[in-house]
Amino acid sequence: MDIKSAILSKYNAKVFKSRKDHILEIEADQTQSIAANTRAIPGIMTNRGCCYAGCKGVVVGPLKDTCVITHGPIGCGFYTWGTRRNKAKSADGRNFIQYCFSTDMQEPDIVFGGDKKLKAAIDEAVEIFKPKHVMICSTCPVGLIGDDIHAVAAAAEKEHGITCLAFSCEGYKGVSQSGGHHIANNGLMKKIIGADDQSPIGQYSVNLLGEYNIGGDGWETERILKKIGYHVVSVFTGDGSVEDISKSHRADLNLVQCHRSINYVAEMMLQAYGTNWLKVNFVGLKATIESLRNLAEFFGASELKDRTEEVISEEMALIEEDIARYRQRLTGRKAALFVGGSRSHHYQELLSDLGVETVLAGYEFAHRDDYEGREIINQIKEDADSKNIESLVIEKDKRYRAILTPERYEELKKSIGLEQYSGLMRQMKDGAWVVDDLNHFETEEFVKLLKPDIFFSGIKDKFIIQKSGLLSRQLHSYDYSGPYSGFKGAVIFARDLVMGLEAPAWKLVTPPWKKKKELLDA
């Protein structure tokens, strides 16, 4: 029995039918297709989160100058309190990243409506914490009891002279976090992007999209970009702010790091403002270098290209020795990756820099385009769940500007893959496995069958893996380490892997009285 059948055989007929299209083995010469972004199966321990998690937890939460109020009972707000390790620092001391605000709805609020409490909560927050921006994220009950959070937000804007933005990101919407990303993208597009036409913008200006600054990743990336001479206008949304995002429409180019969570903004900005976007990956050395070169190519200035090469060689010289040392100890190891919607792709590149082969990769909440490439987007059938998430109709803004000639645009499409993303599968080797929405049961089975040396995932499956005698590294929170991006991050990542694989405890698992006699004698 092959691996796939071995796993699927444990399921009943219905589950079998549903899961079989989410699991495939790479056949390099074939065009393959995978099922993704469909409803999770009840009861089989999916690792997915909810719409609220995608909106508040991922996209809106890291905005440091914004007081994000969770409208709902206490749990949801509490569970998103500082768990993503989005780092942020602020020059003026105004930093809400350490805070958790909730309306802490009680039974009477559910029965009689919670909008009064929400209004009072905003009043209090404004009075005490003096935020310039307030965002409201709703949880399951809010949509069901029909609190009009958008009306409350509009009234608060008028009364307090702040920006107030409401997101109807009730947990039951969509099939995973992904719906929440889209809702958050829409909100930022409608209200924040394009709000500031005044602040000065530097030369070679870019926005960094889909960088949440987990463990300081964004800081390392920004450091490199600034060193070369780019002006990073805004970051969506790690260490980001409404203040910066308001002027993002005037940047020359959008760099897309996490395709899944932020591609909506990239597309909408292209339509409204003519801002081109470029898929980049600052995780991995080759990937970082390629991204930097593509970026320089976009602007085309020779000073930029020269400076890019200069910085690359400077940075590489600093880390080469360390990387070589670690690579030596890592080469030949096998890894499995199961993360959200982009990292399982990004980290394959870094692993390959270190000589580690990826035998399994999967996404928690990605869509087919994240696996197969954007060109299949028009083949994706809309289902009931995706229809429930609003898709904005974008018109050209009067500030629309195209900075490329049509010829140059076509040229760049070919040379640097402008506005394209080819997905995770094309990069994977023959015989590797791709699994969408991997669940607890399948994780255990794949571990037994593929025997990887390292399993990269999150806290929920960390201990299953660890208890199976396998190194687990969390790629959501980096196990309190990081940054892993750029040049310096690669060294930290490599060090963490070696440290984990060579932890003395692994060798001590079997007590001497259980070891084979000859081993004891030896």
């Binding site: 802490d104 949880t139 208890k467």
Partner: protein, 946 residues
């Protein structure tokens, strides 16, 4: 510029109000930084204490995911919670289909004995009746291969604490019971750690009791590492055990605050007649004692081991009592634990200042308050007990109560970081440390561990801050090294908004590195030990009338500003400078400090500086001024090389100022009252701002006067700091008879110190000021001005000597002189280490002997223990010893003789003379007074002759 001052002071006031408001506001609608979680989380944790039980949450899958991630992070164990994964469709049309599918899949993949279905906000809001659904599910064929328990746990209906008990209640209500009488006892707990559950089991076994523990999370949430991982929780309370609970002798419910409607014990009592005993968690001596006593009554055998444990805890209590008593704790978490923690703190003399829970528990406030009122030392002061609170409430009360320790869950880390208080993590959730599952709180051993953690946190804070605190207290003046002044206006604003942690506030550099040659003994304690200064008395006039000042020329027994031997003209000043410089190569600073106001005679002061600058290009200049007429000359002074300025600012509120300044002479007109105080204040602030802008280092002297500006000095420091002053100096008001403020009480050093500390929050303070004479010379600690006064001064009049001889008729008097240097009368009587015994006939002086008395040690000014040097306090009865040592003399000469020794000396017929003189001259003068009968035994007036 006075306008600027007004603006900034107004700013300060409004900041203060904001802080007050922030601290005092009780938030009611917004929960900022919660101290609680939701019901389903509590239920799921409790179900982890059942054998082969899997949980399924009916609702959106996010709830399962979030709860799994939070439990896994704390317990460091796999945590699996299935979900019915309701989507929008389910929310609209009901979730029964999803729930059944979920149950089917879960049972097929995991084969659990029990499936526990809890609800979420979503299911409850759309009105799902899970009880009925599960009934329908169980009636389906084929019959599911697992027991299914269902319960309703909306997130808005309580916290994890209620969720936990709701789960246990559902277990005893829904698992079919066997009514066979057994000899066992049921033990039901609230949320405790797996390690504590294990301890509980060990203890119950050691007591030789048959028991059923509900729930038993000891293994499932803290399992050993082995390569055989099993996805189904293998240990815990089994269905079989649960079904026997109805036949037990008694139920022990270790939870004082379990709500009655959720109490498993009450259910078993009411339905099966099982007796119920409710106890506190066995934490601390008293509650562990009660727990064991109860079990003994139930037939337990208390072994020696446990008695020894008790003894060890008692020993630990005594070992730590000195440190515990310094603790002021804020306790937070679930109600059972907080109550127990408060009782543990109380019995250890560690003050509970805040006891807070995020839940709303009946009687929580009442019982904790009772405990604290009855058993906590009243010395601890007020405390507050909160329920339904968040960390904003806890912070507010903790700041108010000046706590120094946080005890509770790991969510307190943000508060700990912001405020610099240590945090003892002893409850769920702990996400920033490892070992949440291994926390031990129960029984004597657990109490020892808790106590040690608390005390050690206090100790390490003390250890790491002790030197710093001391340094700040005693070496504060080293502003050359103190590169930063914490807390400025920006900080205040940040603190109001709660944005910036106080300890990591934006730090504003007050000075760049100060080169060594700029070191000034009056501005830096370190410099004061090695560098000499010279005050030149060139400015006799004054332009204001301070109500505490009486300026007299030369009174050698007084060393304070405004006192000098003679006024010099600039040329004489230069001469004295040259002489002193020869004698003191370490002379670093020349200053003008009066004896009047340096800038009341600006031409003399400027000329003095000019002359000296010509002969010495390196020497530092400093100036002490009241600031009234300073501003116009600042630029000239700066050009001459003035680097240090001391400004006496006694108040920044004219209403207070008018009680200190009698009059002000300004542009040929005399102002009085409020007008005078306003003028001087505006001019002082102008001069301060200007001096700072010119790059001068400005010290603010404030004379602290009893009942006048004591409370106000903090504001003075704050305002001056805001304008750029570098350093402050709170000075003792030395009441001088004959002045309007002469009857004021001299404030104690302790009072001075307290004010100084308060001011240091805004303006670093020096604390080594000696309030020098206007003609002071040498080191601060060793004033040698007497050596440099004009030679003709102080010479004994020949005629007087003749008169003495005649009056005495050759009689010789024995006189004791107190001296440290062996040359001058330079010590107080009470500080005497040795007496110089002289014989004099009023004409000649002969040294007879020296008499050593044991060293007094301590501070040379107040006799208090010298904390820096580690000296010991003056022993009791020391004064009597001193008096005895001179009992054969007729007089004592000392710098000053205190009232008590004076009267003791007088009782023996010994006269005391206060003086500051060379010993021989002083003895001669004293002898003269005695021989001529001019002495009235005690003479504290000017003894010096000439």
């Amino acid at each position: 510029m006075s306008l600027e001052w007004v603006t900034s002071s107004k700013n300060l006031r409004s900041f203060e109000n904001k802080i007050k408001k922030y601290i005092m506001t009780k938030l009611s609608n917004i929960c900022a930084n919660p101290c609680k979680m939701c019901q389903p989380l509590g239920a799921i944790t409790a179900f982890y204490g059942l054998k082969k039980c899997m949980s399924l949450l009916h609702g959106s899958q996010g709830c399962s995911t979030y709860i799994r991630r939070h439990l896994a992070t704390h317990y460091n164990e796999p945590v699996d919670v299935a979900s019915s994964s309701l989507s929008e469709e389910g929310a609209v049309f009901g979730g029964e289909k999803n729930l059944f599918k979920g149950l089917d899949n879960l049972i097929k993949l995991y084969s659990p004995d029990i499936v526990a279905v809890s609800t979420t906000c979503l299911a409850e809001t759309i009105g799902e009746d899970v009880g009925a659904m599960i009934k329908r599910y169980l009636e389906r064929a084929p019959k599911p291969a697992a027991e299914v328990i269902s319960l309703s746990t909306p997130g808005y209906g309580g916290t994890q604490f209620e969720g936990w008990f709701r789960a246990l209640r559902a277990v005893v209500e829904q698992v079919p019971m066997k009514k066979v009488s057994l000899d066992s006892i049921n033990v039901v707990t609230g949320p405790i750690s797996p390690a504590d559950a294990r301890e509980l089991k060990k203890t119950l076994s050691a007591l030789k009791l048959n028991y059923i523990l509900l729930p038993d999370i000891s293994y499932n949430l803290d399992g050993p590492f082995s390569l055989e991982y099993n996805r189904l929780p293998q240990e815990g309370t089994s269905i079989e055990q649960i079904s026997q609970m109805a036949g037990a002798r008694v139920t022990l419910e270790l939870s004082p605050f379990c709500p009655d409607n959720l109490s498993p014990g009450l259910f078993l009592r009411d339905n099966y007649g099982v007796d119920l005993i409710r106890l506190n968690l066995p934490i601390g001596l008293r509650d562990t004692d009660i727990f064991l006593k109860t079990l003994k009554d139930l037939g337990a055998v208390i072994g020696d081991d446990i008695i020894q444990e008790r003894g060890r805890y008692l020993d630990a209590m005594l070992d730590s009592h000195k440190y515990s008593a310094q603790g002021r704790a804020a306790l937070f978490g679930e109600p059972d634990l907080v109550y127990s923690l408060s009782r543990l703190c109380v019995e250890n003399g560690l003050a509970t200042i805040v006891a807070a829970t995020g839940s709303i528990a009946k009687e929580f406030k009442e019982r904790v308050e009772n405990e604290l009122q009855q058993n906590q030392s009243p010395l601890a002061g007020p405390f507050s007990v909160l329920d339904g609170s968040d960390f904003t409430d806890i912070e507010r009360e903790a700041v108010k109560g000046e706590v120094n320790l946080l005890v509770g869950n790991g969510d307190g880390r943000r508060l700990a970081q912001k405020r610099g208080w240590p945090l003892v993590r002893c409850a769920f959730p702990i996400h920033d440390h490892v070992g949440g599952q291994r926390i031990k709180n129960l029984f004597y051993e657990g109490s020892i561990s808790l106590l040690d953690h608390m005390v050690n946190s206090l100790c390490s804070n003390l250890e790491s801050s002790f030197r710093k605190d001391l340094k700040n207290q005693y070496f504060r003046s080293n502003f050359g090294q103190d590169k930063v002044l914490e807390l400025d206006l920006e900080d205040l604003e940040n603190n109001i908004n709660g944005m910036a942690p106080a300890s990591k506030s934006i730090q504003r550099p007050i000075r760049e590195y100060v080169p060594k040659k700029l070191a000034h003994p009056c501005f830096s304690l370190e410099a004061s030990h090695s560098l000499a200064r010279l005050h030149l008395p060139v400015a006799p006039d004054c332009n204001i009338g301070c109500l505490y000042c009486l300026r007299r020329y030369d009174c050698a027994n007084e060393s304070r500003p405004g006192v000098t031997s003679a006024v010099l003209n600039p040329e004489e000043a230069l001469e004295r400078f040259l002489i002193v410089k020869k004698k003191f190569p370490n002379l670093s600073v020349v200053g003008v400090a009066g004896p009047g106001e340096a800038m009341a005679s600006p031409e003399k002061t400027l000329e003095t500086f000019r002359l000296i600058r010509k002969s010495d290009s390196d020497i530092l200049f400093c100036l002490s001024s009241n600031g009234l007429a300073l501003a116009p000359y600042l630029r000239d002074l700066k050009d001459l090389g003035l680097s240090h300025l001391t400004l006496t600012v006694n108040a920044v509120d004219p209403k207070i100022g008018q009680k200190i300044y009698g009059h002000v002479d300004y542009y040929s007109k005399r102002y009085r009252g409020l007008e005078a105080a306003s003028i001087i204040l505006a001019n002082q602030m102008t001069a301060l701002k200007m001096a700072v802008d010119l790059g001068l280092i400005v010290k603010i002297n404030t004379v602290l006067i009893e009942g006048l500006n004591e409370e106000h000095s903090e504001q003075t420091a704050k305002t001056c700091a805001a304008l750029g002053a570098s350093i402050g100096n709170i000075m003792q008001h030395i009441p001088v008879k004959g002045t309007l403020l002469g009857e004021k009480r001299k404030l104690s050093r302790a009072e001075l110190q307290k004010t100084s500390e308060k001011c240091a929050l805004y303006l670093p303070q020096i604390r080594h000021c000696r309030q020098c004479r206007a003609d002071a010379a040498g080191l601060l600690s060793d004033d040698r001005s007497i050596d440099f006064t004009k030679p003709e001064e102080g010479l004994m009049d020949i005629a007087a000597k003749v008169e003495n001889l005649a009056a005495g008729g050759g009689r010789q008097v024995k006189i004791a002189a107190v001296s440290k240097s062996g040359v001058l009368v330079d010590q107080h009587f009470g500080q005497a280490e040795r007496f110089y015994i002289y014989l004099s006939d009023g004409n000649e002086v002969r040294l007879l002997e020296t008499r050593n008395v044991a060293s007094a040690g301590g501070c040379s000014r107040c006799g208090k223990p010298d904390t820096i040097g580690g000296g010991e306090a003056r022993p009791k009865g020391f004064i009597d010893k001193l008096v005895k040592a001179v009992s054969d003399c007729e007089a004592v000469v000392a710098v000053r003789v205190g009232e008590s020794p004076q009267s003791k000396l007088a009782a023996l017929g010994i006269a005391s003379f206060a003086t500051y003189e060379s010993m021989e001259r002083a003895v001669l003068a004293a002898a003269g007074k005695i021989l001529t009968g001019k002495s009235q035994q005690t003479d504290s007036s000017n003894l010096a002759v000439g």
